[in-house]
Amino acid sequence: MINYHPTLAVLTAFAQGDLEDSISLIVASHVQMCEHCQQEVAKLTEAAAEQVFEQDNLEDIEPFKETTSSSLNMALSIEMLDDIMSLDVDGTAEQSNFKEETLTEGLKHLNQHNDSYEDALNQSNIVSQNARIISHKDGELPLPRALNSLNAAPWQGVGKVSRARFQFNDDERRLSLLKIDKGGQIPQHTHTGIEITLLLEGSFEDDMGRYQKGDFIWLDKDHTHSPITQEGCVCLTLVSDSLYFTQGFSKLLNPLGKLIY
């Protein structure tokens, strides 16, 4: 049972494509795990579409009536239409050759079914949707689909804490897998930026609650916390700045702060 979700404002921005890229990735990862948020996002997307396409359709019904310089001009529209609609005759000719002759022919030989191009295409979606598996020192886990195209650097660790950072360029925000071994703890810290955590496996607790698989926790600079895990956990984290340890020995803890960012 997932208890912690992105706020409505975050889900709305997600549906509209307005979040920062790396935040979109971690929100998408939660949504994949959370049926509740899937339904919310579906509703919010519908509402966003209505706003863009249906709200003032009386004004817009005659599209080329728009007279501002920024509107789509008629010559360009005709050119685009021609371009697009010639695609089946022209641009995809070889593609359709392929689908009708080569692939189905091959498929027919492979088994008796008369598979269509369509079916093969659907199956290719399955193949591409097979979760990528990422290994860590105690096992492995499937990656959220949103991260399918990203590469992760090798795991690096300090004590019971290790992380694998994704190679993903999004200003100062860093996206990583964070693994805390059984009985591990991250000392009390605060942030100058944000820290978003999505629990992928295991559980942890802090002063504010107990979190399980699928929980989405967004902390900003006003929060301090000190997560601890009994059974161990793997999280997807997005951190926008080095952690700032609020208890003593901060110099000693510095490597950990850097590691987690």
Partner: protein, 207 residues
């Protein structure tokens, strides 16, 4: 169905968008495009959506040229993927919106971070694709893996073309742009790859 270009936007009687049952009409048009590549229906869709996509593009991309490109790319997807739209799963406007939002996201990433990888389909998987994937059974899955294994035997340069055109449904133009190679090279690699694939499949499975 022939399209009389000169009449665009002036032929009020023929403009489906002026009818009250907008949602139904858009669905009908999409269906016609899916089934018959109906040019008149697509023209109606274009008239309805293009100016609104343009406005959306201007607000997000801050450039007239990029906004035009967003119109072209989004409407190209509508043309090519109309068969993936199912009215039982939601409104036509919602479906087109997701195509537009996703294209816009990838475009912005290209501008801001020079990132050529398309992430939007991983972030917002479309219902249609998911549902279709669910229906296919495991056996077909294995079968397709065989086909994939042939593809995997191709030289890397040819693989990326086949995968782009066939599995990711990119146009050859998009692919050329994505890979940073001339369109002619894409075409010749595709031809080469297809004949190799044909040969391989034929070799193994011809009686």
């Amino acid at each position: 169905m022939q399209l009389s270009i000169n009449n665009f936007g002036t032929d009020k009687e023929n403009s489906i968008a002026t009818q009250p049952q907008l949602a139904t009409d858009l669905c009908v048009c999409l269906d016609l495009v899916a089934q018959h590549k109906d040019k008149k229906a697509f023209t109606e869709l274009f008239h309805f959506f293009a100016p609104k996509i343009k406005r959306f593009g201007l607000s997000k991309l801050n450039s007239d040229a990029m906004a035009n490109e967003l119109v072209q790319d989004t409407m190209t997807l509508v043309w090519k993927k109309a068969h993936l739209f199912h009215s039982s799963k939601g409104a036509a406007t919602t479906w087109v919106y997701t195509l537009m939002r996703n294209t816009c996201f990838d475009t912005l990433r290209k501008i801001k971070h020079k990132d050529e990888i398309s992430l939007s389909d991983d972030i917002w998987p479309t219902d249609a694709e998911e549902a279709l994937a669910d229906e296919a059974d495991f056996k077909d899955h294995l079968l397709n893996e065989k086909v994939l294994s042939y593809v995997d035997n191709l030289p890397l340069a040819q693989q990326s073309i086949i995968k782009g055109v066939y599995y990711q449904e990119l146009t050859q133009e998009q692919l050329a742009k994505q890979l940073g190679i001339p369109l002619g090279t894409v075409k010749s690699r595709l031809r080469l790859a297809l004949s190799k694939l044909k040969q391989q499949m034929g070799d193994k499975y011809h009686d």
